[in-house]
């Protein structure tokens, strides 16, 4: 069986930084509640104008 404790290996700075980042893992970066977007209204109107047009029903 391989014995890790006798392997003459060393860590690079990148690898050490990776271990450090994983050890000090911060809380998840979850976005806050959605905020009003001033451009949303324009996008909705554009979608309505470009959407499929339906013929009015005959009465």
């Amino acid at each position: 069986m391989l014995t890790l404790h006798r392997s003459p290996i060393s860590a690079t700075l990148t690898e050490t930084a990776a271990v450090t980042a994983l050890m000090a893992e911060p809380e998840a970066a979850i976005s806050d509640a959605p905020v009003a977007s001033p451009h949303a209204a324009g996008i909705l109107i554009l979608a309505a104008l470009l959407g499929p047009k339906t013929e009015p029903k005959d009465k």
Binding site: M1, L4, I9, V19, T20
Partner: protein, 243 residues
């Protein structure tokens, strides 16, 4: 298994998840799981295996602390090797304080279970919230040092947890509302420890832990935190004023 071209963080994350799974099996008494780290020597990427040891830290000793399982001498040698390849940091920034406390806890338990003295002293300061409004950043730090939430690692960190259960409860509630279940699992573990020593938790750790088992995802490290939480709850009385 991570590809040979995977970044170190990706490879080390996968390795840590694998090691957490073995620790969990050992904690649950799964047959054939006596050796935790030594079998990791059969993997090709030795450095990832040692990195996993550093990432899990004192959680590796959870089966020994909570169930009296035997710690294999080869596992002790591997932990010491992990500290040689990834030595502790020695600066005083907030992030390094988190790392220093984790290193101290691992070194303490390694010595206790027959390993070498790694010469890691107990860090100074950074334990209690600065004020009652500091609960958010303080609880986030406590989540980062959740491997210290084990019995027998008496320290100012344990004292701070026992003295500030409301701040822990606020942090836990915030994590649940944000659906940050790994952080929530780490904080409920602290509250379970507080409850196990007779402290009163503002939220019921058992109920939160049951919720996280159902909705917290299938991450092995979260599963390990929840298994440790259950052991802590089994050890002592549940809080919420029950006597």
């Amino acid at each position: 298994m991570a590809s040979i071209n995977a970044s170190p963080e990706t490879a080390f994350t996968e390795s840590a998840d694998n090691l957490a799974g073995r620790v969990l099996d050992n904690l649950l008494g799964v047959q054939g799981a006596a050796l935790v780290i030594a079998d990791v020597g059969s993997t090709i990427d030795h450095k990832s295996a040692l990195a996993a040891v550093r990432v899990l830290g004192s959680d590796i000793f959870a089966p020994q602390v909570l169930t009296g399982a035997i710690f294999h001498p080869e596992d002790a040698a591997t932990v010491a090797a992990a500290f040689r390849v990834f030595p502790p940091a020695h600066t005083n920034t907030s992030a390094e304080s988190v790392l220093s406390w984790r290193d101290w806890a691992t070194a303490q338990l390694l010595t206790r279970y027959g390993g070498d003295d790694l010469g890691v002293g107990q860090p100074d300061g950074g334990c209690a919230p600065v004020s009652s409004r500091d609960w958010r950043s303080w609880s986030a730090r406590m989540a980062q040092i959740s491997p210290l939430a084990l019995p027998g690692l008496d320290s100012p960190i344990h004292d701070a947890a026992c003295d500030n259960p409301v701040a822990l409860g606020r942090g836990l509630t915030r994590a649940m509302l944000r659906r940050d279940y790994p952080t929530a699992a780490r904080l409920v573990r602290w509250l379970a420890l507080v409850s196990s020593v007779g402290g009163v938790s503002p939220v019921d750790p058992a109920t939160v832990a049951a919720h996280l088992k159902l909705l917290g995802g299938d991450g092995t490290r979260t599963a390990l935190d929840l298994a440790i939480t259950q052991r802590l709850l089994d050890m002592g009385q549940i809080g919420m004023g029950q006597k």
